[in-house]
C-alpha cells in the first residue's frame, strides 16, 4: 500500500532546471515520497556561483542540498533519497533486483544516452544511418529486458507504481521523443519493434505525478531545434 503523507524535508533545496530530465528525476522522487523542497532554478548558460561551489567536479544540475550538505549525480541522489526517506521505496528490496536496476540505469545513462545524442545531433547521411542503428540496437537491448524487469507489470515499480527504472527511463520516453520529432526520426515510437517500451511509455506518461511534472512539448521542440540549428543538423 502506498502511503501518502507529506513530510517536511527540513532544509531541503533542489538546484535544477525545468528542462533537464535529470533534474526532473529528483522532483519525481521527492514528490513521490511527499517531501517538501525548495526548487532553485539555475540558468545553465550563466551558472550561479553557488552551483559551481557545490558541484565543482561536474558543474551540473541537479544538486540536492539537504541539511546544508550537497549531493550531485542524479542516480546517486535517488539512492540517497531512498535511504533517507524509506516510505514509498524507489529501488527494489531484493539484492539481485537492485543489481539489475543499477545495471540498466547505468546502461540507459551511458550507452543509450550516447546513442541518443548521436542520433539526434549527427550531421550527414552516413553518420545519421550509423547513429540510428546504434540507437535502435541499444533500445532493443532495453526492450528485451523489459518483461523481466517489470515482471509483467505496467511499470518497473509495479502496476501503476513508479520505481527507480521508471524514473531513469523517463528521458527516453519523453524528452527523446521530441528530439526525434525535431530531427525527423521515428525510432522510439515504433510499437512493432518496441512493444514493451511503447506500452511502458504510455503508462508512465499517464501517471499524474509525471504528467504534471514535465516540460511542455513546445519547449522541448524549441530547444531541440535550437541545438540542431546550431550544430548544422537542420537549417531554418
Amino acid at each position: 500500500m502506498r502511503m501518502g503523507g507529506s513530510e517536511s524535508g527540513s532544509d531541503l533545496k533542489l538546484m535544477g532546471t525545468k528542462l533537464s530530465p535529470f533534474s526532473y528525476r529528483i522532483e519525481w522522487a521527492l514528490q513521490l515520497k511527499g517531501i517538501h523542497y525548495e526548487f532553485v532554478e539555475e540558468d545553465l548558460k550563466n551558472k550561479s556561483s553557488l552551483l559551481l561551489q557545490l558541484n565543482p567536479v561536474y558543474k551540473k544540475v541537479p544538486v540536492l542540498i539537504h541539511e546544508q550538505k550537497s549531493l550531485s549525480e542524479s542516480l546517486i541522489i535517488l539512492e540517497y533519497i531512498d535511504e533517507t526517506w524509506k516510505h514509498n521505496p524507489i529501488l527494489p528490496k531484493d539484492p539481485l533486483e537492485r543489481a539489475h536496476a543499477r545495471f540498466w540505469a547505468k546502461f540507459v545513462d551511458e550507452k543509450l544516452y550516447e546513442a541518443a545524442n548521436k542520433a539526434l545531433f549527427s550531421v550527414g547521411e552516413a553518420e545519421q544511418a550509423k547513429a540510428n542503428e546504434s540507437m535502435a540496437e541499444a533500445l532493443q537491448l532495453v526492450e528485451g529486458e523489459m518483461m523481466r524487469l517489470t515482471k509483467g507489470k505496467t511499470l518497473f515499480g509495479g502496476d501503476g507504481i513508479i520505481g527507480y527504472l521508471d524514473i531513469v527511463l523517463g528521458w527516453v520516453g519523453y524528452w527523446f521523443k521530441f528530439g526525434e520529432e525535431a530531427a525527423g526520426l521515428n525510432i522510439t515510437t515504433d510499437s512493432t519493434k518496441y512493444p514493451a517500451f511503447v506500452s511502458w511509455t504510455h503508462h508512465f506518461l499517464q501517471l499524474p505525478l509525471i504528467k504534471n511534472n514535465l516540460p511542455t512539448p513546445g519547449e522541448l521542440l524549441r530547444v531541440s531545434r535550437l541545438v540542431m540549428l546550431r550544430c548544422g543538423k537542420i537549417t531554418e
Binding site: V57, K69, I76, E79, T84, L96, R98, A99, R102
Partner: protein, 224 residues
C-alpha cells in the same frame, strides 16, 4: 543451501581485482574462472551479453556485471565487513567518488598513458586536476573510508599500485610525493592491507603488458 559464487576475471583486469578484494574482505568463498579476452568463453558471453566483459560475478547461477554494480550487490548480500558506511550522506559521497574514479579520473590518466609529445603534454593538466580532487578527499584520513578500506579505496586501489607501472612505462611521474602527499601515504597504507598485497598481479608481467599496450596505441595514433 550451499552458496555458489563464481568470479569471471582475467589475471590483470583492475576491475575484476575490485571484486577479488571485496569477496576476500568479507571472507566469501568463491571459484575463479580466468578468461582469455582474445577468446571469450561462451559462458562469459551468455552471462554478460551486453558488454561481454569481465568481471562477472555469478551467485547461485545468477550473473551480475559492471564492477561497481557488483560491489553494491556484494554489499547488499553479505553484511559482514561493510564496504559502505551507514549514514546515507556518507554513502552518497563514497558512491560519488567511486563513480568519479571511473568516469573522470581513470580516463584522464589513461589518456596521458596512451599519448606522447604535445598530445601527452596537453593531457597531463586534466589528470593532475582530477588527482587533486581525489587527494582532497583523503584529508585527515588514512583511507578514503577512514581507518579501514571501503568502496572508494577498492574502486581506486588498483590504480594506486598500477600507477607505478604506468609511470615506469611512460617515464612520467604523475603522483609525486610533494604534489600528492596524501595519495602517496594512502598508496603506502593500501599496500599493507592483507587482501590487497596478497592479490596484486605480478609486477613484471604488468609492466610487459602495459608496455605493449602503450606501444600499440602510439603506433596506431598520429605521429608526433
Amino acid at each position: 543451501m550451499a552458496e555458489e559464487v563464481k568470479l569471471f576475471r582475467t589475471w590483470s583486469s583492475p576491475f575484476a581485482l575490485r571484486i577479488v578484494w571485496a569477496l576476500k574482505l568479507k571472507g566469501i568463498q568463491y571459484e575463479t574462472i580466468f578468461e582469455d579476452i582474445s577468446n571469450k568463453s561462451p559462458l562469459l558471453l551468455q552471462y554478460n551479453p551486453v558488454y561481454k566483459k569481465v568481471p562477472v560475478l555469478v551467485h547461485n547461477g545468477k550473473p551480475v556485471s559492471e564492477s561497481l554494480v557488483i560491489l553494491e550487490y556484494i554489499e547488499d548480500t553479505w553484511k559482514q565487513t561493510p564496504l559502505l558506511p551507514e549514514d546515507p550522506y556518507e554513502r552518497a559521497t563514497a558512491r560519488f567518488w567511486a563513480k568519479f574514479v571511473d568516469d573522470k579520473l581513470m580516463p584522464s590518466i589513461w589518456h596521458v598513458f596512451v599519448t606522447q609529445g604535445k598530445e601527452q603534454d596537453e593531457a597531463i593538466p586534466l589528470a593532475i586536476e582530477n588527482l587533486n580532487l581525489i587527494e582532497e578527499q583523503l584529508k585527515g584520513k588514512k583511507f578514503f573510508s577512514g581507518e579501514t578500506i571501503g568502496l572508494v579505496d577498492i574502486a581506486f586501489g588498483w590504480m594506486g599500485n598500477l600507477i607505478s607501472v604506468l609511470e615506469m612505462v611512460t617515464g612520467l611521474k604523475l603522483i609525486d610525493a610533494e604534489k600528492f602527499p596524501l595519495l602517496q601515504a594512502w598508496m603506502q597504507n593500501l599496500s599493507d592491507v592483507q587482501v590487497i598485497k596478497e592479490n596484486w598481479p605480478p609486477h613484471d608481467k604488468l609492466v610487459s603488458k602495459f608496455q605493449a599496450i602503450r606501444e600499440t596505441y602510439l603506433a596506431t595514433g598520429a605521429p608526433k
